[in-house]
Symmetry: C2
Subunit: 284 residues, 2 copies
Amino acid sequence: MQIAKTITEIRACVSQARAAGKTVGFVPTMGALHVGHVSLIKAAAERCDFVVVSIFVNPTQFGPGEDFEKYPRPLDKDLAICEESGVDAVFAPSPAEMYPRQNLTWVTVEKVSEPLCGRFRPGHFRGVATVCAKLFNVVGPNAAFFGQKDAQQVAVIQRMVADLNMPLEIVVCPTVREPDGLATSSRNQYLSPQERKDATVIYRALQRSAELIREGKAAAAEITRYMGEVLRQVPALRIEYVSIVDAESLDDLRRVEGKVLVAVAARLGSTRLIDNIVVDATAK
Amino acid sequence: MQIAKTITEIRACVSQARAAGKTVGFVPTMGALHVGHVSLIKAAAERCDFVVVSIFVNPTQFGPGEDFEKYPRPLDKDLAICEESGVDAVFAPSPAEMYPRQNLTWVTVEKVSEPLCGRFRPGHFRGVATVCAKLFNVVGPNAAFFGQKDAQQVAVIQRMVADLNMPLEIVVCPTVREPDGLATSSRNQYLSPQERKDATVIYRALQRSAELIREGKAAAAEITRYMGEVLRQVPALRIEYVSIVDAESLDDLRRVEGKVLVAVAARLGSTRLIDNIVVDATAK
């Protein structure tokens, strides 16, 4: 496995693979790798000949007061996971390598960035879109792999790639869950044992929404009210939003129709957790 | 010469050239080609094996009340000029090919977009940066060629390419002038015979600034005042700005130092004209 710290180095790795006729799959991460990331790596290895993983905690997607400083950075462990998972090259740049001067250029995706987490993390998706544009330009992959767990991130990136005609495919992989349903996340390690137990209520609420939709309930407000009842079984949980939106445009829905995204964001202590499911309301 | 109307077609042309081991030079234009554009094509042909010219009047860089509708579109003449100049492929997409749905994704370059023309054409450089990002992603060139005449456009694109790590080189070519000094521009054809004569005052004012800097004048306000005296010899000229800025950052300068950009924008009748020179104030 090659480890590149600079843009020049990773471009050389990829050029060599390209010259050997290989297709390139790319998994952009912020490190603190878990089984969710490994599933993305496996998906990339299945579809592409050469797999690149980036490990970069991107400062421009963290707001003031968010967990940029505290975000875990277990690089040696991450490299071992990459090695075991059959990654061909890791790109692990420093902040100065990615942002050598004041960054003046931003990629913004209107509308899709605005609801859900966009309301609680102003500037977050601008940072995500910008760093993904940069990483795509650095690595030049045929396909990039993202987890459905970050549903709004996926929608933003897909729209960016389509609007800007970026020459790569975005592959979305299913959310990986712990046996008790909690979506795997690098931030789960922040949770105390009690919070870790409490956190499972989020997926229970999402499952409840799927049941209700299967039973024919179509009023979004009614479904989210029932979800609220489930979530309030954990008094420590501070709900940011419980929303039902169109799965592609992320437009708010009053009635559940077609492919819908049911999404929750909530805090347990200082940890912010998000999760979602996509339900096809036409296929009952 | 190949003529591609769709993204699929131009990508196929470029892929074929790449497969033959050729480097790709790209000249993005809005058509209405003149000797300035031809000089860009020649520069591209000198440095690259395969030259692509795009002809696309980009709606997103025109403001309300600007000349988008009236902008000249002499496609047959443009294709003849490309053919004569040895262009290998022309990409001439429709607006619907470039913007198949509402465009939600924008590339903005802070600071560099804001002074000079940015104050008079809000949103213009956002449209320019966005369409250039799209075209670069569609064509995938090794180098793209721009004229120094559009100095702020050049500065915006250079900063975008650097900040977003776009894998291409930006080559800036000298402004081509008519024998009487007027910078060649597709908009010159809007000028009446009298306006065409009057328009030469802009370059005379720029030359005056270069003389003053060579003579050792360093106070920007003094130099622009002398330029104003020259420009006011044509009462019909409505000055938008006369500015002296840092040639790279476009930051306003009080004292002329290092490489400076002296830039003028003015209107004659309904025609907006811009011109500039770069003067190295250290090399007297």
